[in-house]
């Protein structure tokens, strides 16, 4: 890596990074502006737009719904995704290869197509309540990430440890919980974080699955932007970014960020 990099390339890279981070800095500034419209640089400093988030009931409600979807959807995806990932690795010979293709379908099929199809089949035809349809959508959204990340973690797991435990008399189910799961803990945490962030930021699936009184934060943000152009949106964005930074710090401390970069 000792080859020198041409200054023009470095200059270009610096520009790209300014392009990537500048707009986010501007949101921070705009959120602090003491004006009723969005502006940068901020004119006067105030935190009242942050207070405003809690004063608008629609934001309060949708933050709760978003958190519910992210936690529950990820939780269900882990419960059904971990056994599937285990089966794909442990019983690779007996399961058809098409099964792993099936598990990537939620990534391959455009989210917006999944959302529209769920609206038609699940909400309208089957009459499933909006909240549950939304949960189905979020579970489907994160399931492939769970299966992929846990599979990657299982791929480096030495299954002979498990066989040793079983041959020493440990029942298979107990072995799974005492031997296999603890060994793929970092994969499970990574899957959880990736899924949580994917779910909380989702627009395209939630778009069709929100209904009267039930919406997620990103959808509410879109709706709010159509009517108002005040700094509240910027302050919500700042809160979301601070949350992201917090998650990144936790990931860095526990697993190292290399996991997310994959």
């Amino acid at each position: 890596m000792s080859t020198r990099i041409h200054p023009v390339l470095i200059f270009f890279t610096v520009l790209i990074y300014i392009f990537l981070l500048g707009p986010l800095v501007i949101i921070f500034g705009a959120a602090l502006s003491d004006t009723t419209y969005l502006t940068f640089p901020p004119q006067g400093l105030t935190l009242r737009w942050f207070e405003n988030i809690w004063n608008i009931s629609a934001f309060r409600r949708t933050i709760v719904t978003s958190l519910q979807m992210a936690f529950l959807g990820t939780f269900i995806a882990l419960i059904i995704g971990i056994p599937a990932a285990y089966a794909l690795n442990r019983h690779r010979v007996t399961l058809p290869a098409s099964l792993s293709t099936l598990f990537v379908l939620p990534i391959l099929v455009p989210e917006i197509v999944i959302g529209f199809s769920l609206l038609r089949s699940v909400t309208v035809e089957a009459g499933v309540p909006v909240w549950y349809a939304l949960l189905i959508g979020h579970t489907l959204l994160v399931l492939p990430y769970v299966i992929r990340v846990v599979s990657a973690s299982l791929a480096s797991f030495d299954f002979s440890i498990e066989e040793a435990a079983i041959s020493l008399g440990s029942p298979p189910a107990k072995t799974f919980f005492t031997i296999v799961l603890p060994n793929i803990r970092s994969g499970m945490i990574a899957a959880f974080i990736l899924s949580f962030i994917t779910s909380i930021n989702d627009v395209s699936i939630s778009l069709f699955l929100t209904g009267p009184g039930i919406s997620t934060l990103p959808i509410q943000l879109l709706a709010h932007m159509e009517q108002f152009f005040d700094p509240t949106i910027a302050s919500v964005s700042v809160v979301l970014m601070l949350l992201t930074i917090l998650v990144m710090v936790i990931v860095e401390r526990t697993l190292g960020l290399a996991i997310v970069a994959k």
Binding site: I79, P110, I112, I114, S204, M225, A261
Partner: protein, 278 residues
Amino acid sequence: MKRLAGWMLATPATLMIALLLVLPVAATIGMTFGAPGAGTWGVAQPYADFFTSGFRRRVLWRTFEVAGWVTVISLAGGLVTAYVVSRCPPRVKSILIVLAVFPLLTGVVVRSFAWLVLLGRQGMVNNVLQWSGVTDAPVAMLYTQGAVIVAMVYIFVPLMVLVLVGVLENIPEDLLQASSSLGAGPVASFLQVTLPLAVPGLIVGAVLVFTASFTSYATPHLLGGTRQMMMGTLLHQQAMVAFDWPGAAVVAAIMLVVIVATVLLMTRLARRMNPMTT
């Protein structure tokens, strides 16, 4: 017995995807075929309706155009950045990677919103343009194709950088040393060693960005509005504003065909272009 165990463990996830994804999407596609006797085109009537509408044809073409530009610009910007990042000293490299991951983890709505602030009539870009005397009156930049492309490039460059850093790091260092010890300069080494080895990864990055921008909703909605409708916003408009569900289903089916065809063609191409396999 073992066979059964494997199936049982995979059953919940398999059922979930089969019943709640494959079936509903299949039903949507089934909906795109009209009754056999209806209209001049029979079963294909809903598709004929789509392609005979100048407006919808333009939306489809615009979606290809925007996704194409976004892919090309992201590839160029991402490749240069990834090249520099991958040759930085480890400490700088990890900082640069963290700085690219951060926007990626920030939601699409927030990142599109940033451009709404920047490109508005009172936005910073207009302020700078007027202050520097380039224009006297604010330039209308929102709701143009350019605004949509810029915001989407902004959204997808971090993804491209991360994918390509991974690709460039996987290229064995001794190949580059061999090429420079044989007298190749950095440019020749890049063009004759690095680039050919990076092609499969470039294709993967391009497919990711193309499919994501082809199907995106939030960015074209916020920065393009109804004037710069793309397939995603058209699907939503047909389904939720016009309540034309067969029309929306046709849009969904066309999106699906474009995505699946792109992924299949490009993965095949990536395999063929991989110099390590032949």
